[in-house]
Symmetry: C3
Subunit: 211 residues, 3 copies
């Protein structure tokens, strides 16, 4: 389980870095910026989480997270023309969703073991871990953040983390099965939004009007 | 005193979250983004402060701060049409000013007890606590920050925190009265800028010119 | 050496604050925003570094960093008309480069002594320290960050920090000479980009295209 989670984590880091470079490449970006923003996107959310938890940032204990982010960013920069082919870009979106699901559930676990702000904070930090890196990337690259779009990126994370907290509280002996189920749920919901191109419905939006 | 400060704090959190959703609503925002940005606005400044002080973030020790921010954001999202009525929006601006005043003076107190960077850092972290959440909200929502406007939001906080540091240094036995006086001063100055719609005068601005 | 490094550090803080106010002044900025953004630019990068290292933020242990940043920002605000004279602005760019070089190498040293994430993290945090303050300034002031331009600001830092890490690993007894050589190298590379107005060449950029 620990080892599987490690490899899915590395896959998530890869997907975060690759999608970061892919969304930035069409505007014209230099190699250095691509790699730095790739790293920030890949590890930014978990870094904010670890600072708030006051534990060592996860990538200082295992440099592989950084090396993988650097390698993925470099390869994507040079293979950009290939990877933007529609099918590959969509594959990366799915991997990105799997990474977000795994990091979010890992964060709930981490908070639970630290007994940190239960039961609410694990859910909030799960969301922070899943979206923090992408937010930093968009702000630093001058792109609209997900708060300005109708993308359904974080809602699946909210649902899955809430469910996992309930499972930890009420079925504490089945942690591994619960974790896998919630990762699968988040990924399935996210995959559905990608597959059917779903966005936030009108009745969950305020009505735009002259400010 | 502690209990009064606690309730004013909750009122400040409420006002921060409510005004955040109110300024974002006219552009069209979804429920999830409204709640997340409401939370970030309400607790963001204090979070940066606690990270710098290297103490546990205040909302991990008392989840009520988060629940109140979530509740206030939700209610504001659904009551948006009502709350943007001019009178209620102005009331919220005053409460926001009261919250900023309280959080700033609380921060000076916190630094003083921790003997952290006296006498300058308490003033700087007081300002950070008062404006940090709003800055994060504006950056994440793509709005101009207060550094780009002529709003007189932080100057009252600077004056009040500076005065409070002087009182703590020179009249150490009257902490409670000094704190109340400085909160009142910050709030009065801020209320004046709201009431008379004051902005930064020209002689405190650089002259704009072709860059 | 320690004392020389201290004074170069103060010069770097000064240059960071001065250049911050100078780039913001032409758009019209108020005194308060100028000073706050001056401080953030001057100490922001080192603050992020210290939070990640989980050590006390450097300016809480020596308030002179803050006083110098405040003083430099104030003087620049009032002397703006003088300092934007081309020759003086260019001098400040060179001092800014010297400051970035020194802070980056200091950061590598700090990580090395803490045995923090060797050998990769010192280089990454060296870059963070050199560019973090400027990134915060640009995001908060609504300017394009260096990730959106072709400025060659951080590449010299990357080269110098990488070299310094190699020297620390392979020639551990010559720390001081190595540090000075790497500071000189970073500064020389940065000075060359300023002097010859160099920017990122096309072959290190992705091709812009319709997104």
């Amino acid at each position: 389980m620990a080892s599987l989670s490690y490899w899915i984590g590395m896959m998530g880091i890869t997907a975060f870095a690759v999608t970061a470079v892919l969304v930035l490449a069409p505007r014209g970006i230099d190699l250095f910026s691509a790699v730095v923003l790739g790293i920030i996107t890949a590890v930014g959310g978990g870094t904010i989480r670890d600072l708030i938890l006051d534990v060592p940032v996860f990538w200082s204990l295992d440099l592989n997270y950084l090396w993988v982010a650097i390698g993925a960013s470099l390869i994507t920069f040079y293979a950009d023309a290939l990877l933007t082919r529609r099918a590959i870009f969509r594959l990366m979106l799915y991997l990105d969703g799997l990474g977000a699901a795994l990091f979010a559930i890992q964060t709930v676990d981490k908070c639970w073991r630290l007994n940190f702000g239960l039961p609410l904070v694990p859910v909030i930090l799960g969301i922070v871990t899943a979206i923090g890196g992408g937010l930093l990337r968009d702000v630093l690259a001058g792109r609209p953040t997900l708060f300005m779009t109708r993308e359904l990126y974080a809602t699946p994370v909210l649902i899955g983390c809430t469910l996992y907290v309930m499972l930890l509280a009420w079925v504490p002996n089945q942690e591994s099965i619960g974790a896998l189920a919630c990762i699968a749920l988040i990924f399935a919901l996210r995959a559905a939004t990608i597959h059917w191109n779903l966005s936030v419905p009108n009745w969950l939006m305020t009505k735009p009007r002259a400010g």
